[in-house]
Symmetry: C2
Subunit: 166 residues, 2 copies
């Protein structure tokens, strides 16, 4: 198997966020896709080792902030390279509350979901969320994972499915 | 809900293929993502109305052909706008067999999977596949769904989650 083939799948760059007992938290993710159109549902894949995973299981809700090419790249680092267990990520990145959920204010769009199903794998949970609310926050080109690697020259966080080691 | 927010999720352009009683068939898809890294697994979302869905349920295997910017755009039309039930799509598009599965020869990479789990929704099945084989077929930029819309000016097939009507 040539793993380089897997890296040719296309992704965006997202922050998946939720509440941790009243405190906003979240993590960077690139695995999000729309599954059904009516009612609209979205699937996101979150590593078991991400603290956000447990918080989504507890709240039954999550928000996807779609990062744009002009979103501060520091957002990716804050949400991707620290654990929400011991870091207040939304202290460093301005949140805005939409449909009772914390969202990255500097994102180009957001989607708020209620978990309606999930699929467990060895390392990740695939959450299926029914869309409760979604809107565009600013005119920007959505950041692709390829753009992040080529232009921002970012690395994958250790918990990402696309992690390639050091 | 502003559905334009949902269209800001990033996707690639793929052909998901399998066997129909010894005959190769498949359909265009944009919803594919890597879920776990080791063992590598991939999730794809296929509409119940796509004949390919039933064929994947029968064979328990599927291949993802990752289309490139230089892949003949006719591939997307052939696999997206006809039903595999009454059209031999691989008569019009050259296949190559990899790990016993039919793949689009003109793709930039392929991934062959064995179904290990699935999640049903109102309109789509999310298949979780363990990667059996994957390789790069040619040097090309993977086609993003945004590129397909902007440069090739393609429309969504009716069964796509991102279908926006006429």
């Amino acid at each position: 198997m040539n793993k380089n083939a897997l890296y040719q799948l296309s992704y965006g760059v997202y922050v998946v966020s939720t509440w941790d007992k009243g405190r906003a938290t979240g993590c960077t993710a690139n695995s999000a896709m729309q599954i059904t159109s009516s009612p609209a549902t979205i699937a996101v894949s979150i590593n078991h080792d991400n603290y956000t995973n447990q918080c989504i299981q507890d709240t039954g809700k999550f928000a996807v902030s779609i990062l744009g090419e002009n979103t501060d790249p520091g957002v990716i680092g804050t949400f991707g390279f620290y654990s929400g267990k011991d870091t207040d990520k939304f202290d460093k990145v301005k949140p805005v509350v939409k449909e009772y959920m914390p969202v990255v204010a500097d994102a180009c769009a957001y989607i708020v979901c209620e978990v309606i199903d999930k699929m467990e794998t060895s390392s990740h949970t695939v959450f299926l969320g029914k869309v409760l609310d979604a809107d565009v926050l600013k005119q920007d080109e959505p950041m692709t994972y390829a753009y992040y690697h080529k232009v921002i020259k970012g690395k994958s966080p250790k918990n990402a499915p696309t992690y390639q080691g050091d």
